[in-house]
């Protein structure tokens, strides 16, 4: 993923999303994309730019504010053999579609014993910063992970954004596709041609023997920065990106933890009943007969996201807090270490300016 090949170029996350959609729409006439504001000039921060021009308003269209019904419409169209992509500019708005997603989309294949399938992608974006606050910032992927029949994917970089989105479109199941607003302008080397990142295969991003660190969505980026800070002081963290949360490649994580003996999971969500709880529990279930494992989770503070910047900063994990947590696990006797705050900053976060 990091080595540039001839057909690869640096591409932003947002452009990678758009390219993946366009390529699938070119090759598969069953794919269509709809949702609030997908066809206006802002084009969901650019992730749908040019699609209506290329594919026309029958395959790319905005909707009324009717998330519940539109989700049902997507499901019905999917049952009829199409492959809808339904776009939500915030993950919080999926809460208006819960009945259709949980009671119909997730269950139809099973309760109708395979007579219908629901191949659709629900794109949704997690917001952060600039006062997004209580209702525009939530990472709610764990709610969907809870229910059999839904796949849940949360890419952390442009390469996976494209490849996993293509895999999601080709998948015969409903896929909740979790994007992050602040990742949109981060870039990575991405192949020009169409390719699929298999759902259910984690990536080991850095090798290390001291601790296994799993980062979800944009927290992966923060974990990678924490890894850099920690290597300065001789701590080697093995950072793993699960990419897909359902199905979850627990084997890759377990193999790593068996070697390091330590696991920190950092989620862009609350820890309570969250993806981090699930990953820790499954690692312990799989590895309980070996040597003892030290575990820790980090995520949103157990409170509602405040808008004021001072409290918001305390609400989120960040590279400094992650590095500190790792340090405390790896070197419990050396107390009082804290990283250089300047080095812990992430340019793509510092640069972000609202209003939206």
């Amino acid at each position: 993923m990091s080595s540039p090949a001839t057909n690869q170029r640096l591409l932003t996350y947002v452009d990678a999303l758009r390219e993946g959609i366009a390529q699938e729409m070119r090759s598969d006439p069953r794919v269509f994309l709809f949702g609030l504001d997908v066809d206006d000039h802002k084009a969901i921060q650019g992730s749908t730019r040019g699609l209506v021009q290329e594919f026309g308003p029958e395959r790319v269209f905005g909707t009324p504010l009717s998330e519940d019904a539109m989700t049902g419409v997507a499901i019905g169209a999917a049952m009829a053999g199409m492959r809808p992509i339904h776009v939500h500019i915030r993950m919080d708005f999926l809460m208006l579609a819960m009945n259709q997603l949980i009671n119909i989309a997730a269950k139809s294949s099973y309760m109708y014993d395979g007579q219908v399938k629901v191949p659709m992608v629900i794109r949704s974006m997690i917001g952060k910063s600039w006062g997004q606050g209580a209702q525009h910032s939530q990472g709610l992927h764990a709610m969907f992970m809870h229910v059999p029949g839904l796949k849940v994917v949360a890419p952390s970089n442009a390469y996976d954004a494209k490849g996993a989105l293509i895999a999601a479109i080709r998948d015969d199941n409903p896929v909740i596709f979790v994007e992050h607003r602040l990742l949109y302008y981060t870039d990575a080397f991405v192949p020009e041609e169409s390719f699929a990142v298999p759902l259910g295969k984690a990536r080991v991003c850095t090798n290390g023997d001291d601790i296994t660190v799993v980062g979800i969505s944009n927290m992966l980026v923060e974990c990678l920065r924490a890894h850099e800070i920690l290597s300065d002081i001789g701590i080697a963290a093995e950072v793993i990106d699960p990419i897909s949360l359902v199905p979850l490649d627990i084997d890759t994580i377990v193999a790593s933890v068996k070697r390091t003996g330590r696991l920190l999971v950092v989620d862009n969500a609350w820890t309570n009943c969250g993806a981090s709880a699930e990953i820790v529990a499954r690692v312990i279930e799989c590895a309980q007969n070996g040597k003892p494992i030290q575990v820790r989770r980090m995520g949103y503070a157990p409170t509602t996201c405040p808008t004021t910047p001072v409290l918001e900063q305390a609400f989120y994990p960040d590279p400094g807090k992650i590095a500190q947590a790792v340090h405390a696990m790896v070197r419990p006797d050396a107390n009082g270490w804290s990283p250089d705050p300047e080095r812990a900053k992430l340019a793509y976060q510092v640069k972000f300016r609202g209003p939206f």
């Binding site: 009324p64 606050g133 209702q135 525009h136 409170t303 509602t304």
Partner: protein, 324 residues
């Protein structure tokens, strides 16, 4: 639809209405002016151009009546009497804000002036207004509730469900649709099969009214009639208020260069600008007097916001559950 013709308005009424209109206009212009400094790190949805809806409706209410605003809610908050200092402090994320800096622009609340909290999820507060009205009715109160919402909110299922229930139970709730033609950048022509919103609502047995030119005095009169009906226990009413958002959907700027709507539309609405219209109904002296008082109040509120502290970190966890 027969109107309840209230007593003719006098100069004191015009002055009160003008003061409210002008305060909202100027306060939001100041928000827009300050915004590029990044002191207000909150997504602001300005009501500049739409003030007449909040002012006309709220002027027909008592202090103990209730309003449920939206994320585009500075106007309703101020028109209902919400304090200016605490508004600016909230936008600045300060501890002295209406929600201690935790809610920001999209979640204004002031229960002491009966401003119910606003939601950033479109349509969400419509049934809350209905529920509040249910409670008032059960308590044999003659207080009433106003639900403000946009044209886009009427597309959510919860709107229809709320209308039906409110009418079924004859609840004291006034539904006020601020139809500014757009949901973000998408016009109603691309979202509605027909624009006969009032007809749709009327089928629930709810009296409907439509004000096409933003006339603040007409809005006030219609609201007064609806309020009188509600106080008599005769149930909900609906007012569709055509209006126009002068600035971008979210943020401080104009956006006529973006190509989705024409400056000519704005120019047409500018002719009917209610701040100017009511301003002209007053003597130059009293208008100048009100204007200068408003400038002082706004300057004071900004100074208050700037000099207030940010919340202490331990506030991160207060009120997750009630009473802590």
């Amino acid at each position: 639809m027969a109107l309840a013709s209230g007593p003719a308005l006098g100069i004191a009424d015009f002055e009160r209405i003008y003061r409210s209109l002008r305060l909202i206009r100027r306060a939001e212009e100041e928000v827009a002016r300050i915004y590029p400094s990044d002191k207000i790190k909150s997504p602001v949805h300005l009501s500049i151009g739409q003030e007449a809806v909040s002012v006309g409706i709220c002027d027909a209410l008592r202090r103990d009546d209730v309003v449920a605003p939206t994320y585009r809610g500075h106007a309703a908050y101020l028109a209902k009497g919400g304090p200016l200092r605490e508004l600016f402090a909230e936008l600045y994320g300060k501890a002295t804000g209406v929600a201690g800096g935790k809610g920001g622009s999209m979640h204004l609340i002031d229960m002491s002036h009966n401003v119910l909290g606003a939601s950033a999820v479109v349509g969400t507060t419509i049934p809350l207004a209905v529920g509040y009205a249910l409670a008032l009715k059960r308590n044999k109160s003659d207080r009433v509730v106003v639900a403000f919402f946009g044209d886009g909110a009427t597309e959510e299922g919860v709107f229809a469900e709320s209308l039906n229930f409110a009418s079924l139970h004859k609840l004291p709730v006034l539904f006020v649709c601020e139809n500014n033609y757009y949901a973000i950048h998408t016009p109603i022509t691309r979202r509605w099969a027909t624009n006969r919103l009032c007809e749709r609502v009327a089928t629930y047995g709810i009296p409907v009214h439509r004000v096409e030119n933003g006339d603040v005095l007409m809005l006030r009169e219609l609201a007064a009639g609806a309020v009188a009906r509600m106080r008599r226990g005769e149930g909900p009413s609906f007012i569709e208020c055509l209006t126009y958002r002068w600035r971008e959907h979210v943020g401080p700027n104009e956006d006529y260069d973006q190509g989705y709507r024409a400056r000519d539309d704005f120019n047409r609405w500018l002719k009917d600008d209610q701040v100017e219209r009511i301003g002209r109904m007053m003597s130059d002296e009293s208008r100048a007097q009100i204007d200068s008082e408003i400038e002082l109040d706004i300057a004071d509120a900004i100074e208050f916001a700037e000099s207030s502290p940010f919340p202490e970190i331990d506030k991160l966890y207060t009120n997750v559950f009630a009473g802590n």
